[in-house]
């Protein structure tokens, strides 16, 4: 369980730091697989339920979402680079600082041991995702940041051992999937109207 958490943390950091879009999407897929293992290892309740959850997670996070994103990347003919408003070194430093902050926050909060690791890793992914969403230039990267954020929340929840009933959990997955799906569609439509994917140039509406 610890190993999976650490791997997730490293993958999340890789997604946040990498300069190209495709490795980021592959990282997302890998994260999805690891997250799918989590319910099997951690969730209480009957085995079939855990397996079902795990499968749903993998289906949504490792298959569906990367597919949507890859299709968007292919169709939109955007470059391979994932540009950022900050330089790579700054991003690395910031992500490292956020990780440490997450660990300190969790320690401050009285969690300990495995709980703390999972909670801190989840928070790190959350912050990294937020960082990606606010500092990346291309819309695809913003969506990737959003998925990382959701992964972080999922990890945080798994570490806290929260158990929801099955329909609610499925509802959560559905929400995530539809959200990314809509974002993908919107990206395609933006491409057709704007002929670029640079969100810096999207600011016709302002006060």
């Amino acid at each position: 369980m610890n190993t999976i958490t650490i791997l997730l943390l490293l993958l999340g950091l890789h997604t946040a730091v990498t300069e190209r879009i495709r490795p980021a999407i592959h990282s997302l897929a890998a994260q999805g697989i690891l997250l799918g293992l989590l319910p099997i290892l951690a969730a209480p309740g009957p085995a079939w339920r855990a397996a079902g959850l795990g499968l749903a997670t993998v289906a949504v996070k490792s298959v569906a979402i990367p597919l949507i994103l890859t299709r968007a990347v292919n169709r939109l003919e955007i470059g391979q680079e994932s540009e950022s408003l900050l330089s790579t070194k700054t991003v690395i430093l910031l992500t490292g600082a956020l990780t440490l902050a997450a660990f300190v926050a969790c320690a401050r909060f009285g969690l300990s041991g495995q709980d703390r690791l999972g909670a801190a890793a989840g928070l790190t992914l959350l912050f990294s995702g937020l960082l990606m969403m606010t500092t990346r230039v291309k819309a695809v990267s913003q969506v990737i940041g959003f998925v990382v954020l959701e992964n972080g929340i999922f990890l945080f929840g798994a570490a806290s051992g929260s158990a929801f009933t099955l329909p609610i959990e499925l509802g959560i997955f559905l929400d995530l999937f539809v959200a990314v799906f809509l974002m993908g569609i919107l990206m395609l439509k933006i491409q057709r109207t704007f002929t670029h994917m640079d969100v810096r140039k999207i600011h016709t509406l302002k006060d």
Partner: protein, 300 residues
């Protein structure tokens, strides 16, 4: 007696490791490559050659090669390779300073020759190692926390043995050590040890003016340092191997060294050398990973 044997093992394994790295690299590039024991023959050749010395070089230049070898051997005496006991238990801060000492002398020697290449190599090498310092210190601190001891041998020996799932901070630290190994020993992706092109040399430029015995000493020292780092890395990952009786431990050490050589060779073959500007990012990543390893340790 034990001290001599310990250091002798490092000296013997150094060129072997270099040879394994080169062979692996060649093999993965679909080449035959030089035989594994070639570095021994190279050293033998170099030791019998004379030195060509620049007229502007001073006593510093003469001193640098022996200092480099000497310091590396002292470091070797402090590093556990096949047992937890070392002839010279050393506090890790002193260890780090001793690692910096040969670099200091080599840098000055590079400048001392008055050639452009020397200065170029020196400045680049110093830049790289300056950026690698925080990562080194943090990872050693992490190891110290992990092993619960100050001395390098104590650290590595003290790494907890839980193997059901390899502890996350151990993996992180070992990974960081590997990244640092590549940086400190001038391996791809930080520096290409086989290049002699002006634009691409870092370490090689610095030692370009050494010849004969000097060069032999420097090459031997770099082999020893490679074994040193490999010993640290594999000791962190497989601390049990240090507890074996000498009969098994020494072959185990050889195996560890060969495996590290394979790993390094595979990494070198699989990657291209990074742009200079990206070396900084690489080392920053190593620093951040070491910091995270510390944080994880703090969390557990």
């Amino acid at each position: 007696m034990n001290a001599v044997a310990h250091i002798a093992l490092f000296v013997l394994l150094g060129p072997l490791l270099v040879g394994v790295v080169r062979k692996t690299k060649a093999f993965l590039s679909c080449r035959q490559g030089a035989p594994v024991f070639q570095p021994y023959l190279d050293l033998w050749k170099l030791f019998r050659r004379g030195i060509v010395r620049s007229t502007t070089a001073s006593w510093l230049f003469d001193l640098s090669a022996p200092v480099v070898l000497g310091a590396s051997l002292v470091l070797a005496a402090a590093t556990p390779l096949w047992s937890r006991e070392v002839p010279l238990p050393m506090h890790f801060i002193l260890f780090l300073y001793l690692m910096a000492l040969p670099r200091f002398f080599q840098t000055l020697a590079g400048l001392d020759t008055g050639s452009a290449f020397g200065g170029l190599g020196s400045s680049r090498e110093v830049a790289v190692s300056a950026m690698a310092e925080p990562a080194l210190i943090l990872s050693f601190c992490g190891l110290a926390y992990l092993g619960g001891a100050d001395t390098v041998s104590g650290m590595v020996a003290g790494v907890p043995h839980g193997r059901v799932h390899l502890r996350p901070e151990v993996i992180l630290l070992a990974g960081t050590l590997f990244l640092l190994l590549l940086a400190e020993n001038a391996r791809i992706p930080v520096d290409d040890p086989a290049t002699h092109l002006e634009l691409t040399m870092i370490h090689e430029a610095m030692v370009l003016d050494h010849a004969g015995v000097d060069l032999a000493m420097i090459q031997l020292a770099s082999g020893v340092r490679l074994v040193l780092f490999s010993a640290l890395m594999s000791g962190t990952l497989f601390p049990e191997a240090l507890s074996l009786p000498p009969f098994f431990a020494i072959p185990a050490a050889v195996v560890k060294v060969v495996l590290s050589g394979g790993l390094i060779g595979a990494t070198e073959a699989g990657m291209a050398r990074m742009k200079m500007s990206r070396v900084a990012s690489y080392l920053l990543v190593a620093t951040v990973l070491a910091a995270i390893a510390l944080a994880v340790r703090y969390a557990g």
